[in-house]
Subunit: 381 residues, 2 copies
């Protein structure tokens, strides 16, 4: 931690960092003595959705399981039906509001997945909406194609047909329009099998996209080893990962992305963060913001959950919320730390020490956010 | 839930509630179509303190126990030394800021305890500061005397002497100045024994104060039964309560006050909320806002913790955050519900249904707060 610190940004990048008397500059932004951190890099979100599913939250608390709710028309399919009934403009407006809430708690970069469209046209429309989010909010948005999120109703009884439609139709269209940077798939019992997931990911890679995988969330499937083997940039969730999965991630460049807000909201045990760290894996932490399993905008609360829920230290979690997230988006040389050459994306907090950000849990202490050296958000008052 | 609803307040109390076209009124406040809830009644806080103890948070995450930290000069004693070194004005300023954060998340009434002074003069000064908080913020503040929070260093080796000083000196002074409404004591291994606690509470009752007890937090002591037997208004914490304690609370008018933010922050199992409810106990939920075990201002996050951590339904938790808190402060006929005769303390939330308040966890959706029918806080923007 530097006291009385300054940084100089040129063309949006950090040129110099120091303490004491700052050098001259064309434009000055005053941090007001606040604590500066790298902007949070939220590398796993599904914020492009329509209505909330708070009704299902109540049903789960009354004793229904996630699977029972899905079987009665709830779950991802409820969000698919809802999204398909809305226009692109409306989705952009809804998601922009969510990104502003994320920005206001210190997030400067957010990955956003498609995956509530599940037809070629609805997936393309979703990803076009995601592209428009980049112009609508100061948050830097990274688009991911998640056609393999669930089997849509049109393909009931024809799983193979849906996987083929992704591989032969949707993915090529997404790639040719340049709408996504990553291809993701939800590998789990009740979602896509290991082989189906592999088929989608191999095609995604062939189409020039980086790979991400929803792995080992509800059941152990081996998706973490597959992610490592395919050179995926990240394997995400990992609640059920076993020693072989941990070893595979640790031996690879695949980032282990943990989503403690989801475990908290679904009342499941947290992912084994300590085991992954001890084994040498790179950790990222993200919100997983989505209407079914993590309606959480705040990386600051994820920080508290990583400490109080998973037992990470303040510093281990901070690294995973910033540089870890950047690595999980293939941006580990650009984002996530306040050193020369990195982008001047900075969040300022009204605290005496950065450890007070996760400590004052449930309270938003973020006071201002800069992107590329310029203030893009400031708290009122 | 009423749609298109209004309420009429007269002299700060709700005179009438209805839907459709509202009757004429001298002053109108527009809820803007937002969701109106009774203001949260946070019946257990220690917000009158000096510095944060985020340093201890880091030490606990690194493996030190709460007891080890206390033994090395940390814990409550660290806050005592810190508070004694500060002036009353400074404490009022610090605590006012915390109450404003609580107000901004929907809290309209907050109990505030002394207990970081632990000498007659420092306890009186603390309670005078608490009295001043009532003038400094729109939150209605209820003062509680907690001299029996820890043994102060001057009485090391003379526990009996400290208890006598509370009973013979501090309590009479507190009562004669009318500085507290309740007398509380921390009954636990490492704090005050059952007999010491009883001595303090009996004296508190004789001095005309209502009784509250920190009970069954770290170890089972029987404090819950004692609280019920003494007619205490509440028994608080209850992580370790057993069937006899549950039965005693259920058979009494003593409210079971649960503090899930504390369990979360200390990484302890939650109190058995369901068992208490099933047995017929009245539940309250509160933040326990304090620097050592719950630096949490937000009753909205407590709501999420009550649902996701303890498995309460949205409605069960809401009742405990409002009417339950009111009962735990002896105000069950005045606060905690939006019916005629109750105070017009209302929090407005930017959500489509009140269940979305705990659902969007970690995000503050509170848009405005009214006390006695008048807007006292409004979110920016």
């Amino acid at each position: 931690m530097l006291e009385d610190a300054w940084l100089v940004a040129t063309d949006g990048l950090i040129a110099e960092v120091g303490t004491g008397r700052p050098p001259p500059a064309d434009v000055r932004e005053d941090g007001g003595g606040r604590i500066a951190l790298p902007g949070f890099v939220d590398s796993h979100t599904h914020v492009l959705f329509g209505r909330s599913r708070a009704d299902e939250f109540e049903r789960r608390l009354a004793g229904e399981s996630y699977a029972e709710i899905a079987a009665s028309g709830g779950g991802i399919r409820a969000s698919v039906a809802d999204l398909r009934a809305r226009g692109e403009d409306e989705l952009v407006t809804l998601a922009s509001g969510r990104l502003r809430a994320m920005l206001a708690s210190g997030t400067t970069t957010a990955e956003v997945k498609s995956g509530y469209g599940l037809s070629t046209s609805a997936e393309l429309s979703s990803l076009r909406a995601v592209r428009r989010l980049r112009e609508r909010t100061p948050v830097d948005v990274v688009p991911t194609f998640l056609g393999a999120h669930a089997i849509p109703p049109e393909f009931d009884g024809d799983r193979g047909g849906y996987v083929r439609s992704i591989v032969q139709e949707t993915l090529p269209a997404v790639a040719s329009e340049g709408l996504a940077e990553f291809c993701d798939a939800f590998c789990d019992v009740g979602a896509f099998s290991l082989e189906e997931t592999r088929e989608v990911l191999v095609a995604g890679s062939a189409a020039g996209l980086g790979l991400k995988v929803h792995a080992e969330e509800f059941e152990r499937t081996g998706a973490a080893e597959m992610a490592a083997g395919l050179g995926a940039v990240s394997a995400d969730h990992l609640l059920r990962i076993d020693d072989a999965g941990v070893a595979a991630l640790a031996a690879s460049g695949t980032v282990a992305t943990l989503l403690p807000a989801t475990a908290f909201f679904l009342r499941l045990p947290f992912a084994p963060a300590r085991r992954l760290l001890d084994a040498g894996a790179t950790l990222a932490l993200a919100t997983d913001y989505n209407p079914g399993s993590s309606p959480c905008a705040s990386m600051a609360l994820v920080w508290s959950l990583a400490c109080c829920g998973m037992g990470l230290s303040v510093d281990e979690a901070l690294r995973a919320l910033t540089l870890g997230g950047a690595r999980a988006l293939g941006r580990g040389a650009e984002l996530g730390t306040l050193l020369p050459g990195f982008r001047a994306d900075v969040s300022l907090f009204d605290v005496d020490h950065y450890r007070e950000v996760p400590y004052f849990f449930g309270e938003n202490r973020c006071a201002a956010v800069l992107r590329g050296g310029r203030t893009v958000w400031r708290a009122a008052g």
